[in-house]
């Protein structure tokens, strides 16, 4: 690791001005950043530590029924918050399916949004990678790319965004609150992460120095609480990133779907909201045929970026599974293994 400056700002304004200096990086819990610094992928010249910033660590109920989550709130604290968990069960389930207890106790909401891809070539400084070193090429093309993107990828980059948390958030219409040198602004989470195009090094809409201060979930998101699930396919039982995942949320009225939300994880460089599939579900009966059709629509544009055609079918199936589980109803208590496709089902899916 190289020597660098370490700054501990006391206000958001100080943080933003400190970070506006080129070569700066925000340090939240560091669970991602410290590792990237050790392996030489991130080489910031100054670290702006957010850990002592006041006012970014609250979970606030908003008067309109929504909720605001400070960027410094720990993943575990959010998932364990009884009010939040009751109203946004799929988000809690996604949080609890990520990483390990230790990491959830540390990792912050802002850091989770901005964690970098797990593409192994991105992490290996001896490999060519347009995201890490623009213009150097992409060793994942023609390399080990079994777990790479099937949606929204470009010739320049086929990496995926690894977050679980973001998948139900984008489904539920979360909004990102940002402070920056040019003042505050907000951006829907759906527009926050950028697809790679020709500039994979630009991962989000944040301008230099901009700070995520909070996330907001609108009141209507809580309307899905009775039918909201997150399902994650992993290659071991826990403590693993998703191969593919899906968040599904339904509002069922009189045996018909009155509103639907569906998003996919592990398939693209951003959490992937499937709005066309949502639209197709509205008005339908919550049955296998409707879910099948929604899954087809969600993946209609998908194409393999390498040795990963299987992910397309797997993503369809995980979407279907999430919809079926959501339709069966959010369980009283979160399953012992959150987001596991093996969780026993009240609706008797597994007979």
């Amino acid at each position: 690791m190289n020597r660098f400056d370490y700054i501990r700002p006391g206000t958001v304004a100080e943080a933003v001005s400190a970070a506006a200096v080129p070569g700066s990086a925000y340090l939240a819990a560091g669970t991602n950043l410290l590792d990237l610094m050790k392996i030489g992928v991130a080489r910031p010249e100054r670290l702006v530590d957010l850990n002592y910033l006041p006012g970014l660590d609250a979970i606030e109920a908003l008067p309109d029924g929504g909720v605001r989550i400070g960027a410094r709130v720990r993943n575990a604290d959010l998932a364990q918050d009884p009010g939040f968990r009751r109203r946004f069960p799929a988000v809690a389930e996604a949080l609890l399916s990520g990483a390990s207890g230790q990491l959830r106790n540390m990792a912050t909401v802002g850091g989770n949004l901005l964690q970098r891809t797990r593409c192994p070539y991105f992490q290996d400084t001896a490999s060519a990678c347009n995201r890490r070193a623009p213009g150097s090429g992409c060793d994942a093309r023609g390399g080990e790319n079994r777990l790479h993107a099937v949606l929204g990828w470009s010739e320049a980059c086929i990496a995926t965004h690894p977050s679980d948390f973001c998948v139900p958030l984008v489904a539920l219409g979360a909004v990102v609150e940002i402070a920056g040198p040019a003042g505050p602004r907000e951006v829907p989470l759906a527009d926050f992460h950028l697809l790679p195009g020709a500039t994979p090094e630009r991962e989000s809409v944040l301008a230099p120095g901009e700070l995520v201060t909070a996330l907001r979930l609108p009141a209507e998101a809580a309307g899905f609480a009775a039918h909201a699930r997150y399902v994650k396919l992993r290659e071991r039982t826990s403590y693993a990133f998703a191969v593919v995942s899906a968040a599904a949320a339904l509002r069922i009225e009189d045996g018909r779907i009155a509103a639907a939300r569906l998003a996919l994880g592990g398939v693209a460089a951003k959490p992937w909201r499937a709005e066309a599939a949502e639209a197709a579900l509205v008005g339908a009966a919550p049955d296998a045929a409707a879910f099948q059709q929604a899954a087809e629509i969600a993946l209609a544009e998908a194409r393999p970026s390498g040795d990963n055609a299987f992910k397309i079918e797997l993503a369809r199936r995980i979407a279907r599974r999430a919809l079926r589980l959501a339709a069966a109803g959010t369980p009283e208590r979160l399953p012992a293994l959150p987001a596991s496709p093996f969780a026993p089902l009240s609706g008797g899916l597994h007979g």
Partner: protein, 900 residues
């Protein structure tokens, strides 16, 4: 300056705010009980509590712990629940190598502080972020759930004289693993030691030149030396076989795999870490690699080493009868092809150690499985006589075969020798994974037949094992596989061949089972299909064919005794029936989840294949009454220190608690051979028994007592039948054992092993046929161990072996260059290991100590084939490409449906 409260005491630390808490605790405060396994959040070995919450100390920047309350393993005993948890771990055998233990204990404390009597699911959730490669987790979960019972209970008494063999005794070396005192390779180097950092090839195959390093040295004050090939005082080569020293300490202009060492930086820690690889004057000419055995065997392929022009390192064969004719005449024939992957040992402790020069001798302290082999390698690379080398094994945080090859030892010895300073090194996780040996990926084609009654007639087996860039243990694997290719069954006609093929991959070496687990996957799949074809229950089919005492094996060896496979199968029969009924009932309901039950057996020859492998043990009794057991067998967590002590104690007739232990150090102990091939209980155990008996004879002779004389030792006074025995000179009991074998001839005929372990395991699972995921429900394991010297430790070996078998079957796939960390390379977590029932069968081995054989490797062998058998049972799908990741399971299901 940062203020912390560590285990209740305030500490003020002068370290930069971005320093990791783990580094501050270990290097700044000397609290080395907190372990480092990955430095990346992937393993949990560094788990501590910060303000009561478990976190990875390796990812906490010091600046964020300002004023925080930090609890580490060193402070555990002061908390009543902490002390109870330690006692529970000791009583339940929850620590093996002990390297994950501090992290496990601290993670467990988080849940115990909230719920002193946690439910299983709570414990599993709390421990989900700590990896253990040894135990299979089950005993850890039990210990945590039962911790509350140890709140007031006194420690369990040790067995009395004559009662040690067969006792469920806690580990003799257990406590230091529970309170943070155990010193592993990275824990004990002197404070002023220099650091060594190797520079490794990022290419699988390349030529290189290393230019003048003087400018680099000038640019980095504190960098003392850049060591390269020309600096090696002796032979620049090492390797397992005395006549194959093909792996250079520092490559000589050519690298053969991504991981070969080009040179090493030696200096202060800050200096060696500050050097960027790009700064080195290295010129590369990248060459096309031979990426897999097919390419290496192709006509005209370039030779990796001149010595093996066709890239075939070794070929092992067994030929008996006429397999082709017998197959042609068989009523039922089954055949198939399988392909397995590189598997990483993933011991949680990365390679580490330190060395110093003492006059004209060199001393190396390192984590190892084979101190005497290390001694030979160090002597060789330094050009020194053996007597000038001392190897002192540190505690070993897991080995499984991977620490049989040297790693840090030669480089450290060279640096310490030349610089006349203490020099230390610790591989990073990615370096450990890139450079260490792997389980051989195997491509197997096999065909077998049986008659109408289900009696096996013949087997043809062809295995190609990717042995990587250097020989390592490749010849052993190629030798062992054909001898085991029939599995533990009577097969009259056999033609089998295994070849170890050189490629530009990491060297494949020794890994629990030496190639046999891969072969077992193929065999057992064939038996299932033959059983189905013959219309015979799969368990009964195996019983019909099981080797029994008096039968001849494919190598022509007649098994004289201790062939407990039929007993294992009979013990499993009721569980088999019950689990099959359960699965059938669950399947009756339909749905995407299909339940299945599978079975597989194994045998495993204990000790080296057709080769001498002696062990010597020594017990001394000094006039002052000090009774010392000099034991050179390295305990890498499997428990040999405890088991050999139990044997020695009963042979001598004194309680285990009477002994002082002198372990490992090559200056103080005799050569016990390496900790491999499941040999320590059988071979060193017999030597320990002989040593105990010899000392007993000597004592009885001096005391003029009869063979039944009762010994006692208290306050330094030995009594025989109550009469004090005064000694003027020390007494010694020496025991040596070398299991009798007959080398294999060109057709693989001979007596490769003096005895075999046998086992059968059942796996019950569910397959999600939509998603391709597998949920294990239960493993039932019946193992013939001859005699369970310590049933607690035997169960621990079985559970740990099963966990590794699960990894092999379902998730582990090492891709050179791409999975050099523990989040891309997945090993089982606590949630991946289902309930395990162990059934111990004791069919005594006359040659073994008190009838014992070995258990280390056997436990792993049948697990993967039993899992594939269960997948086959659940879905009809045949897993040929291993591991069975979800996409491969789905593909196999599709293939089967396509085939109708």
């Amino acid at each position: 300056m940062t203020r912390l409260i560590v285990n209740g005491a305030e500490q003020v630390v002068a370290a930069p705010p971005e320093a990791r808490l783990s580094t501050v605790l270990r290097d700044g405060l000397g609290l080395t009980g907190t372990k480092i396994g990955c430095d990346a959040g992937d393993c949990g070995a560094c788990t501590v509590l910060v303000d009561g919450a478990q976190v990875c100390a390796c990812l906490v920047p010091l600046g964020q712990a300002e004023g925080a309350r930090v609890q580490t393993v060193e402070g555990l005993a002061a908390d009543p629940m902490g002390a109870a948890l330690q006692h529970a771990f000791q009583a339940h055998g929850a620590a093996q190598c002990g390297y994950c233990t501090p992290g496990m204990l601290m993670a467990a404390m988080e849940v115990l502080q909230a719920s002193p009597r946690p439910a299983e699911a709570q414990v599993m959730a709390a421990l989900g972020g700590v990896l253990c490669r040894c135990t299979g987790y089950r005993k850890i979960v039990t210990a945590v759930m039962e911790a509350h019972r140890f709140l007031d209970a006194p420690a369990a008494p040790l067995p009395e004289a004559g009662q040690a063999v067969g006792a469920r005794m806690g580990r003799a070396d257990g406590w230091p693993k529970l309170d943070g005192r155990e010193a592993y390779g990275a824990d004990a180097a002197p404070a002023d030691a220099l650091w060594l950092r190797p520079v490794r090839s990022p290419h699988a195959h390349a030529r290189f030149t290393l230019g003048d390093t003087a400018p680099l040295l000038a640019r980095h004050p504190g960098l003392e030396r850049v060591l390269a090939a020309a600096d090696v005082p002796g032979r620049n080569g090492y390797g397992i076989y005395p006549d194959i020293k093909d792996q250079a300490v520092f490559a000589e202009g050519l690298v053969r795999y991504r991981g070969d060492v080009v040179c090493a930086l030696v200096g202060t820690r800050e200096a060696v870490e500050a050097v960027r690889v790009e700064e080195l004057p290295l010129d590369w000419e990248v060459l096309p690699p031979l990426a897999e055995p097919g390419a290496a065997l192709a006509e005209g392929a370039p030779a990796l080493h001149e010595r093996w022009p066709d890239n075939v390192l070794t070929t092992g064969r067994v030929r008996r009868g006429d397999a082709a004719a017998a197959l042609a005449a068989s009523v039922h024939v089954a055949e198939g092809r399988w392909q397995t992957s590189f598997v990483e040992h993933a011991y949680v402790e990365p390679e580490a150690g330190w060395a110093r020069r003492v006059g004209d001798r060199i001393e190396v302290f390192a984590s190892t499985q084979a101190p005497y082999m290390d001694l030979e390698e160090v002597a060789g690379v330094l050009g020194l006589p053996h007597a000038a080398v001392r190897i002192v094994p540190t505690a070993c945080g897991g080995g499984f075969g991977g620490k049989l090859d040297v790693a840090v030892q030669p480089m450290l010895a060279i640096a310490a020798w030349l610089l006349r300073r203490s020099v230390r090194a610790t591989w990073s996780r990615s370096e450990s994974m890139a450079s260490s040996t792997k389980r051989h990926p195997a491509r197997i084609e096999a065909r077998a037949g049986c008659d109408a009654e289900g009696r096996l007639t013949a087997l043809e087996f062809e295995g190609i094992y990717d042995t990587g860039a250097y020989a390592s243990w490749g010849p052993t694997v190629a030798g062992r596989v054909p001898a085991h290719s029939t599995g533990p069954y009577r097969v009259p006609h056999v033609r089998s061949r295994a070849r170890a093929v050189l490629t530009n991959n990491p060297p494949s070496g020794a890994f629990r089972g030496f190639g046999v687990p891969q072969a077992a996957i193929a065999q057992e799949a064939l038996w299932d299909r033959l059983a189905d074809a013959a219309g015979i229950d799969r368990l009964e089919f195996r019983l019909i064919n099981a080797l029994r005492a008096g039968d001849a094996t494919a190598t022509g060896q007649v098994i004289a005794a201790s062939a407990g496979l039929p007993a294992c199968l009979e013990a499993l029969r009721p569980r088999w029936a019950a689990l099959r009924e359960e699965a059938a009932a669950e399947n009756a309901a339909g749905g995407p989840l299909r339940h299945g039950v599978g079975i597989a057996c194994m045998w495993y020859g204990i000790g080296n294949t057709g080769m001498s492998n002696p062990s010597t043990m020594r017990i001394t009794l000094e006039p002052g009454g000090r009774l010392a057991f000099h034991n050179g067998a390295v305990d890498i967590g499997q428990g040999s220190t405890t088991v050999l002590l139990q044997i020695a104690a009963d042979a001598l007739g004194l309680p285990a608690s009477a002994f002082a232990l002198v372990l490992g150090d090559t200056d103080l102990t005799a050569d016990a051979g390496k900790t491999s091939a499941s040999r320590q209980t059988f071979v060193s155990g017999r030597a320990a028994m002989e040593a105990g008996l010899a000392l007993r004879d000597a004592i009885l002779l001096r005391a003029n007592a009869g063979p039944e004389g009762r010994l006692a030792l208290s306050d330094g006074m030995l009594t025989v039948d109550g009469r004090p025995l005064h000694l003027e000179a020390p007494l010694e009991g020496l025991g040596r054992f070398d299991p009798p074998t007959v080398p294999l001839d060109a057709d693989g005929q001979g007596v490769p092993y003096a005895t075999y372990g046998f086992a059968a395991q059942i796996a019950a699972l569910a397959v999600d046929t939509e998603l391709g995921t597998i949920r294990l429900k239960r493993i039932v394991a019946a193992h013939d161990v001859g005699r369970a010297i310590n049933p607690l430790l035997v169960e621990g070996q079985i559970e740990g072996g099963i966990a590794q078998g699960i990894g092999l079957a379902l998730m582990e796939e090492y891709l050179p260059g791409r999975t050099e960390n523990l989040h891309d390379y997945l090993i089982p977590t606590v949630g991946d290991v289902p309930a395990i029932e162990s059934i111990l069968i004791e069919d005594p081995e006359p040659l073994g100590p008190y009838g014992a054989k070995g258990i280390g490797e056997p436990a792993l062998v049948p697990t993967a084939p039993a899992i594939f058998s269960a997948i086959r049972d659940a879905t009809g799908a045949e897993i040929n490409r291993i591991p069975a990741l979800p996409h491969r399971v789905l593909e196999a299901i599709r293939r089967k449906e396509g085939a109708g």
